[in-house]
């Protein structure tokens, strides 16, 4: 709708509101640059040889070099196997969990729900490290124990293979898959299910013939989304894959630009990145198609009643055990391992001798090892990234939801695009931009470049939430304010802002936490000056300082849980009228 653009001098005269269009145009252009520039850099670097900024003629030499090398195809095969395995592991846990938590009388649902959220707050690389400390063939606690007990020559279990990588990554994806599927379940009208029961159809038949077909588009959408993400993840492939010599695409891109020895080769990274980019966009296209297709099934009813829960009967306890097994792998075991290791001077099995050595020494000395800078940098990220992201998201959503600017659909798509843009690629693209055009974009090696990368990435997430928040605020609530005689700023300040504040603040915390635990982009853009806590942990691990990694990891997780828990608790009262 039109906003009053009239000047105070002539209150009754108005020039057709080009202000809104102009503003929307500017916003679109800015977003286009933010998303487009790193993408353009990927393409540019793939067509150039030499260092960033050296110029030279455009060439296909990088592609020739990369795709004539047989090793590349081995890497592609590894990537596909790893991604497929990851998706399978995730779905095996996520689909039953969604059904159990959304539709049945499973005990302790609330607690399980909270622990899933905590699972998201444990960074993937910390979980991976914890599992390595358990299952590494040489140093892993389980394998040490098996050697002692049974005198085994071979390790009992090893993570250093593709199934091991897929297992850790798959477990880590479960919470996001869960929350995506749960959202789909929530929009499904429970009357559809109840209609089946009243038609005399059994619970199992209803689940198979009604629930599954209706949620199938959502499951398909989640599958594509997970696959798309799994192709691009970096943490597990780096931490397990490097020592095991199992390389995937993201690891190749990273080593091309950050080689352990020798000079970075941005050209090769660009050529590897091109294929990842194409795959990402193709999957994103399918994802959007499936999601749109699925929308025709979902009926959003205004009635706020909870559907009847299905009684699990004697299956309650096995079902609870299933949830507990999952939560152990996701939260309990990794965290306990980290705590155990952080209290000891070196990695060892529980024993009387080990218990005698337990102390907080590692925690006391951790700050001497880290210094103040990473903490300051992390704090900057945690504040700047969510603030910038939410400002962008609110503005974009306002244009998309509340105006009738002709290109608002394109703006929405543009804001969603970073979702399909792998973090590692975005970071490498930005690094190239910062190096090649340092005169125009002088942020390479600063915390700002990491903040920019994070902001671009989470605009996709931010706009999804602000879109739904804005849609929930009925247009008539704003119009009633105007009819009451309140000016546009008053309507925005007194009506719109209070109504969306709780939702915005929720997303703000969440993005702050995502930025806090993010390591891939921070690493790819990292120098000695812009270290953050997550990259420090990564460095310690590289140096083999296992107890210090564990101690810093425990601090990292506890702080996140305290912040989110505290803020949510304090804010839940304010958010009451929103539900």
């Amino acid at each position: 709708m039109s906003i009053a653009t009239d000047a105070a001098a002539a209150p009754s005269v108005d020039i057709k509101p080009s202000g809104t269009g102009l503003f929307a145009g500017g916003l679109t252009a800015l977003l286009l640059v933010m998303v487009g520039a790193p993408l353009a850099m990927i393409v540019l670097m793939s067509l150039r040889t030499g260092f960033p900024g050296e110029g030279g003629p455009l060439t296909l030499a990088n592609f020739a070099a990369v795709y004539s090398h047989p090793g590349t195809y081995k890497v592609l095969a590894n990537t596909l196997l790893f991604a497929s395995g990851t998706v399978v592991v995730t779905l095996i846990f996520a689909v039953p969990l969604v059904w159990l938590l959304m539709r049945t009388d499973l005990p302790f649902k609330g607690t399980i729900y909270v622990l899933m959220t905590v699972g998201i707050l444990i960074p993937v690389f910390l979980r991976t490290i914890a599992w390595i400390l358990l299952l590494s063939p040489r140093i892993g606690l389980v394998n040490q124990w098996a050697r002692q007990l049974f005198g085994l020559e071979q390790p009992l279990l090893s993570l250093y293979n593709i199934p091991g990588m897929a297992f850790i990554q798959g477990v880590s994806f479960v919470p996001s898959a869960f929350f995506m599927l749960a959202a789909a379940y929530r929009t499904m009208d429970p009357a559809l299910e109840e209609a089946a029961y009243t038609s005399g159809v059994s619970k199992l038949q209803t689940f198979l013939r009604i629930n599954v077909p209706i949620t199938l588009p959502a499951i398909a959408g989640v599958t594509v989304y997970l696959f798309m993400t799994a192709i691009a993840v970096f943490e597990v492939p780096a931490i397990i894959g490097f020592p095991a010599r199992i390389l995937v695409l993201s690891a190749l891109i990273f080593t091309s630009t950050n080689p352990p020895t020798g000079l970075p080769n941005y050209g090769h990274a660009g050529a590897y990145g091109a294929i990842m980019l194409v795959a990402g966009l193709v999957f994103a296209y399918f994802y959007v198609r499936i999601v749109q297709h699925g929308k025709k099934y979902t009926v959003i009813t205004g009635r706020g009643y909870r559907p009847r829960e299905i009684a699990l009967g004697r299956w309650r306890w096995p079902a609870l055990a299933f949830a507990l097994i999952y939560l152990s792998m996701e939260v309990f075991i990794p965290f306990l391992v980290l705590v155990w290791v952080s209290l000891l001077p070196h990695l060892q099995l529980p024993s009387a001798e080990a218990f005698a050595q337990i102390s907080l020494d590692n925690f006391e000395h951790i700050f001497d090892h880290v210094g103040a800078l990473p903490f300051i940098n992390t704090a900057v990220l945690m504040f700047a990234v969510p603030t910038a992201t939410m400002i962008f998201s609110v503005l974009v959503s306002w244009v998309v939801v509340r105006t009738n600017v002709s290109f608002r659909g394109s703006l929405d798509t543009l804001a969603f695009l970073p979702h399909a843009l792998p973090g590692i690629l975005l970071a490498v693209g930005l690094a190239y931009l910062g190096l090649a055009y340092r005169n125009y974009f002088p942020v390479y090696g600063t915390i700002a470049i990491i903040a920019i990368a994070h902001t671009i990435t989470w605009i996709a997430y931010g706009t999804r939430t602000t879109n739904s928040i804005m849609i929930q605020v009925h247009r008539e609530l704003e119009e009633a304010g105007k009819v009451s005689g309140a000016s546009t700023p008053t309507v925005l300040g007194r009506i719109v802002l209070p109504l969306i504040a709780a939702g915005i603040f929720n997303s703000w915390i969440w993005i702050s936490m995502l930025s806090y635990r993010e390591v891939t982009m921070a690493l790819a853009l990292g120098t000695r000056k812009n270290l953050v806590i997550s990259t420090v942990v990564w460095q310690f691990w590289g140096n083999g300082w296992v107890p210090q990694v564990a101690a810093l990891g425990v601090i990292l997780v506890l702080f996140a849980v305290l912040v989110v828990g505290g803020l949510k608790l304090g804010f839940s009262r304010l958010g009451e009228w929103q539900s």
Partner: protein, 353 residues
């Protein structure tokens, strides 16, 4: 009080231009209760929103209390917040983060004219008294029932004593009994305030009972503007006849100034330049007498009987057409009975088809 001249509004969609209003002309007098009636998509809500300034017409002129508030040709547009109006929304639009007092006081504290604390309290108290919500000032908006929200919306709309009150299907979200009750009350409240009211509804019973005048709209055009009894008794065209109340429709042909139809040849005034016509008569005007074979009357067979308590609806078959008749009170006529049917000539309406 409100003058609308040649109001046009269109939307550009992917499939081309869609006309929402095709030139609306209306003049609403001071203190009049004026109802816009029509099916969904007829343009009634768009017209109302243009008056409110929430929608901007593409052509035409809008005048409120002698002041032009919107005229695209003359590049005049007075923003919604500068118009002296009150509005009740279909969703009520009660702000959920405020309590009842804050909702009703908002136009007085942040609106066109601002008042001191005591005046605000006094005015809010009076408005809440008007809608029978005395003492509910501190109730959070989220703790209100649908009917109470409706009343708060009403109080908020009249608290500034605006010149014009706009209502967009305010009763459509209430259940049937409450709707009837609120209908009566609505009329009382607007009378008490003495405000010019523009009211939008798709419910013809609501329109007829509330309106001083009713304007029937269809396809972005005004079909008829008249007093309720006039609209009911003399619908201007076939659409109005179909939309307002119930009618029997019979096809007929014009032959030498008279109308031939399955019920015989009727001498009725024929609309100019038409040879095919539709005859219409209301069910309550169809008269039945049990004694069959009265001279000059038609003879029909009762096909069905639907007893409503205060009336009965009968379906009568005559010469292959079915007529609906509504008889007040009890009747001992039974299904299958042959009756004579009297259709008073002055009750017939003739429309070109």
């Amino acid at each position: 009080m409100i003058k609308i001249r040649g109001l046009k509004k269109w939307f550009d969609t992917r499939r081309g231009r869609v006309d929402a209003l095709r030139g609306i002309d209306l003049a609403i007098a001071e203190k009049e209760f004026f109802v816009l009636l029509g099916p969904s998509g007829c343009g009634k809500t768009t017209t109302l929103r243009c008056v409110a300034g929430l929608e901007r017409p593409d052509a035409g002129e809008l005048e409120i209390a002698g002041r032009i508030v919107n005229s695209p040709e003359r590049r005049i547009y007075v923003a919604t917040e500068k118009r002296d109006i009150g509005m009740v929304f279909q969703s009520y639009a009660i702000w959920p983060h405020m309590n009842v007092f804050q909702n009703v006081a908002f136009p007085l504290i942040r609106g066109r004219k601002r008042f001191g604390r005591e005046v605000v309290a006094e005015k809010v108290k009076r408005a809440l008294h008007l809608v029978h919500l005395d003492g509910l000032e501190d109730r959070p908006a989220t703790d209100l029932s649908g009917g109470q929200q409706q009343r708060v919306a009403m109080a908020r709309a009249v608290v500034t004593e605006p010149k014009i009150l706009l209502m967009d299907e305010p009763l459509s979200n209430l259940d049937a009994r409450l709707r009837e009750q609120m209908r009566v009350e609505l009329k009382k409240i607007t009378r008490a305030v003495g405000v010019t009211t523009l009211y939008v509804t798709h419910d013809q019973a609501e329109a007829l009972s509330l309106g001083d005048r009713v304007c029937v709209m269809h396809g972005g055009e005004v079909l008829q503007t008249a007093a309720p009894d006039e609209v009911y008794a003399r619908p201007a065209n076939l659409f109005v006849a179909e939309f307002v109340g119930e009618m029997n429709f019979i096809k007929g042909k014009v032959a030498s100034g008279r109308i031939e139809c399955p019920l015989g040849v009727l001498s009725l005034p024929v609309p100019a330049a038409s040879d095919a016509v539709t005859l219409a008569i209301r069910p309550e005007h169809v008269r039945i007498s049990a004694s069959d074979g009265a001279s000059g009357a038609l003879v029909g067979t009762i096909a069905s009987k639907n007893y409503l308590g205060d009336a009965a609806l009968l379906e009568i078959e005559i010469n292959g057409v079915t007529l609906l008749a509504k008889l007040a009170g009890d009747t001992d006529i039974t299904v299958g009975q042959k009756t004579s049917v009297i259709l008073p000539p002055e009750r017939w309406r003739v429309f070109p088809s």
